[in-house]
């Protein structure tokens, strides 16, 4: 309390509310932190079971290849207890997070049960021996099925509680860390950061100045620019908060990100295939040019699946598409969101016009960088370091013979489950009719950035750093 107020009588002295005294944040306060705890808990459990001479393979069940419906039915029936336990484990972990985050558990659990069962059916469909012939890759099937359902049928409100796209993808990315050697992060990180930074800056300024030339408000142009340049919807809401944008501006930017991200889920893998790109190069290109983590993982995994079923026609390991995507997107782009928010908040409060509605934005401080930092990246790095440390005790032959099937493969299966929940949730939450009407000016500005992003991302991934990304892919 200051000197002036302390002199006032208590009856007219403004009270200091409890909220001013409570600490903000905390390690259980958002889905990023929960994805770290859930991902690392699963990795540690897998490790402890592995160290005791067993494996969590029984938990991380996945459908086997089948060629007849009877075979598929028998496979599901045989693994029903495994799927039941897997559901309970996921429901327990996500349910605890949901409760602490004050979401409605009574809505989440039944919705997640439906999501799990449909994901299993999608998983099973993708295991059909003819699936690749019809391009029935699990991510694309999940997305398309979800899109059709959500745009034809009005889903009940309780069901939407189970569709946590960002949460599922972040848990999947932490688990993905356990399948990437830490040395690869250290080796590939600087190149990913360099390539991503060049493309991000260029994309941002193209969108921002195109928007300004079309007469868009500075704050709106900034939200659009970072949404296209950094990490899609997360970036758009982060920058909207940092510059105190209007709700409608955030909604329009997010709408454009969603529309283009969904288009790119289909365009990037099939274009990569048509151009004959290796999985490593395609992963880097998708990582540079997709807007949202979930959309990019869907595109990269779809391309990995296409490569896996191409009989050697596509160079590189199938896993390299998702690996290089993650290096480029998570390490190269996502981790800078706090810095973008800090810089733009500073510019907005010191250089741009004051608000005409009387809102006084507080002076920005460096805490903004950490507050908006995507904490799931920490889990991703720790998981990578942990598995690398465990693997260091084995020879390469033993790693392939023992560690891969009993430790890494089950974690990869759990990751695939998390990604499938995410892909299905993307489709089920995308109701085109409920998205904001964007207007042609924001659309033109954003699309200019999309075009630059794709072209420069292609040139850097396919020509400038092709040898590098191919070597990472092998």
């Amino acid at each position: 309390m200051n000197q002036v107020t302390s002199e006032l009588p208590a009856s007219v002295r403004p009270s200091v509310s409890a909220t001013t005294q409570t600490a903000r944040g905390g390690v259980f306060s958002n889905e990023d932190w929960w994805s770290v705890w859930i991902g690392l808990l699963l990795v540690v459990i897998a490790w402890l079971v592995f160290a005791s001479g067993s494996s969590i393979k029984w938990l991380a069940a996945a459908p086997a290849k089948w060629s007849s419906v009877a075979q598929a039915g028998a496979d599901i029936a045989a693994h029903l207890p495994n799927y039941a336990v897997l559901f309970v484990v996921f429901a327990l972990l996500f349910g605890i997070a949901s409760t602490v985050l004050k979401q409605r558990l009574a809505h989440f659990l039944p919705a997640f049960l439906v999501l799990f069962v449909v994901s299993l059916l999608i998983f099973e469909t993708a295991a059909w021996t003819q699936a690749s012939h019809y391009n029935l890759e699990a991510p694309l099937v999940a997305l398309l099925l979800g899109l059709v359902i959500s745009n034809v049928v009005r889903l009940p409100a309780w069901f939407l509680a189970g569709l946590r796209v960002e949460f599922f993808i972040k848990v999947g990315i932490v688990l993905l860390g356990a399948t990437l050697p830490f040395t690869l992060l250290v080796w590939a990180g600087p190149v990913a950061v360099g390539q991503a930074t060049a493309v991000s800056l260029l994309t941002f300024f193209v969108i921002f100045f195109t928007g300004r030339a079309l007469g868009l408000d500075r704050r709106f142009a900034a939200v659009l620019g970072v949404g296209g340049a950094v990490c899609g919807v997360s970036a758009a809401i982060a920058i909207a908060g940092a510059v105190r944008a209007k709700r409608e501006q955030a909604s329009v930017a997010i709408t454009l990100v969603v529309l283009w991200a969904i288009v790119m889920i289909f365009v990037l893998p099939f274009t990569s295939h048509a151009l004959g790109l290796s999985t490593g190069v395609a992963g880097a290109w998708i990582g540079t040019s997709e807007f949202a983590d979930a959309a990019g993982i869907a595109a990269a995994q779809a391309y990995g699946d296409i490569a896996r079923n191409a009989g050697g026609a596509i160079a590189g390991a199938p896993e390299a598409a998702v690996q290089n995507f993650t290096l480029m997107k998570v390490v190269g782009r996502d981790i800078w969101i706090g810095i973008w928010a800090f810089v733009l908040a500073w510019v907005a409060t010191t250089r741009w016009d004051a608000f005409d509605d009387g809102v006084q934005a507080k002076k920005v401080n460096v805490g903004e960088i950490w507050a908006r930092f995507p904490k799931f990246v920490i889990g991703f790095v720790i998981a990578s370091a942990l598995i690398t440390w465990i693997a260091s005790a084995y020879s390469l032959a033993d790693y392939r013979k023992v560690v891969t099937p009993d430790l890494v493969a089950p974690i990869t299966a759990l990751r695939t489950w998390a990604f499938t929940f995410c892909f299905l949730s993307i489709g089920l939450t995308t109701r085109f009719g409920s998205l904001s009407k964007a207007g042609w000016k924001p659309f033109v500005a954003f699309t200019a950035g999309v075009a630059i992003n794709i072209i420069i991302g292609y040139v850097l991934s396919v020509h400038v750093f092709a040898a590098y990304w191919n070597s990472v892919g092998h």
Binding site: S17, E31, L163, V165, S234, R244, I254
Partner: protein, 88 residues
């Protein structure tokens, strides 16, 4: 300044100044501190993002100005959570 020697105008000025200093958005009933409600009001946010993630930070929606605000922001239309408003 001594309290006993202050005029009514002085008191009003002091109270208003102090209210501006303590009337943070965090304590205002117009700030929608409900992440599910934010997801519902910002179209598409839950598709590839989340109001429960780290990127939104402490930003929340001011339903009066229809603008995202931070807890320490202020404005003249502050209305305390307990219902007491700052008079104009």
């Amino acid at each position: 300044m001594s309290w006993m020697s202050a005029t009514n105008t002085d008191v009003i000025v002091l109270v208003r100044r102090q209210l501006m200093e303590t009337s943070r958005c965090a304590d205002c009933r117009h700030r929608l501190d409900d992440r599910l409600a934010i997801e519902r009001r910002v179209s598409g946010l839950a598709v590839f993002g989340s109001a429960y993630g780290a990127s939104i930070g402490e930003s929340r929606l001011c339903v009066l100005h229809d603008r995202l605000v931070s807890p320490d922001d202020r404005c003249a239309r502050f209305s305390a959570l307990d219902g007491s408003a700052m008079s104009g």
